[in-house]
């Protein structure tokens, strides 16, 4: 069984009874696991990009970590630019 990790609060399934709604791969296969959208319909990782293209109202919830000093800077900047290679990988 493939390891299952809830991502962005989305429920994860990796059992053989769950399938991706679009490509029908089994959640227990090497292409699994699958994650639920807001309507509890499951998609594999490969189909999530297509899902987001087809659901323009979908929201990305994502996270970014800072040191205390950088958090204060970030909170006071109008916006942070996508040119900071010191962000971790």
């Amino acid at each position: 069984m493939v390891a299952c990790v809830s991502l962005g609060g989305r429920t994860c399934k990796s059992d053989s009874w769950a399938f991706c709604a679009w490509c029908w791969v089994s959640a227990a296969s090497p292409m699994g696991p699958v994650w639920a959208d807001d309507n509890q319909i499951y998609y594999c990782g490969g189909c999530w990009n297509q899902y987001n293209e087809k659901h323009p109202k979908a929201t990305y919830t994502a996270y970014l970590a800072f040191s205390t000093a950088d958090a204060r800077l970030a909170q006071n900047m109008t916006e942070i630019a996508a040119t900071q290679p010191l962000f971790g990988q």
């Binding site: 996270y63 970014l64 970590a65 800072f66 958090a71 916006e79 630019a81 971790g88 990988q89």
Partner: protein, 167 residues
């Protein structure tokens, strides 16, 4: 192309922060560190064409600027235990040549001091290799790294190496 690395969970975001080339990332090897995590909600319409999935990093790459100063951004504080020098070294020094202590000597080891035991990592792949232990590499990174992700970045890893003049 530059991007902002967003992660799927706060835990993945902190892990990325700990793997960044900042002083705090180096300190995280041997002391408790505090991380602030911004939770951002982006509509697909707002980021259309400017975001791609980073499957190998459990998150997204955002190719545009991002505001974290608005009231919709949720901030949480996290205290993280030290990851330990061995784990830090395995990640940060993974591209450097490595030998077991005994086959080389940490060049910063002072006469009469306790041996810098364990693995040693080389500066480069040159024939005249200089090796240093994880503690000395970590000290170097703490001295050489920037305090902030918002400072001018170091251009390449060679810049790091050229600053390796600790005695």
């Amino acid at each position: 192309m530059s991007y902002i690395p967003l992660r799927d969970t706060a835990e993945f975001a902190i892990e990325s922060g700990m793997r960044g080339t900042t002083k705090q990332a180096a300190q995280a090897a041997h002391e408790m560190t505090v991380w602030w995590v911004a939770e951002v909600n982006l509509t697909a319409a707002a980021v259309a064409g400017n975001i791609t999935r980073a499957r190998d990093h459990n998150g997204w790459r955002l190719y545009r600027s991002l505001s974290l100063s608005d009231r919709h951004t949720k901030w949480t504080q996290h205290r993280m235990d030290a990851v330990g020098l061995p784990a830090w070294a395995e990640w940060f020094l993974r591209h450097r040549p490595v030998v077991q202590d005994g086959h080389a000597v940490c060049l910063l080891r002072k006469p009469g001091a306790d041996p810098h035991s364990g693995k040693l990592w080389g500066v480069s792949a040159s024939a005249c290799q200089e090796y240093y232990c994880a503690a000395c590499w970590n000290y170097h990174f703490q001295c050489a790294a920037d305090e902030s992700v918002f400072l001018e970045p170091l251009e390449t890893t060679e810049d790091f190496d050229s600053g390796f003049l600790l005695v």
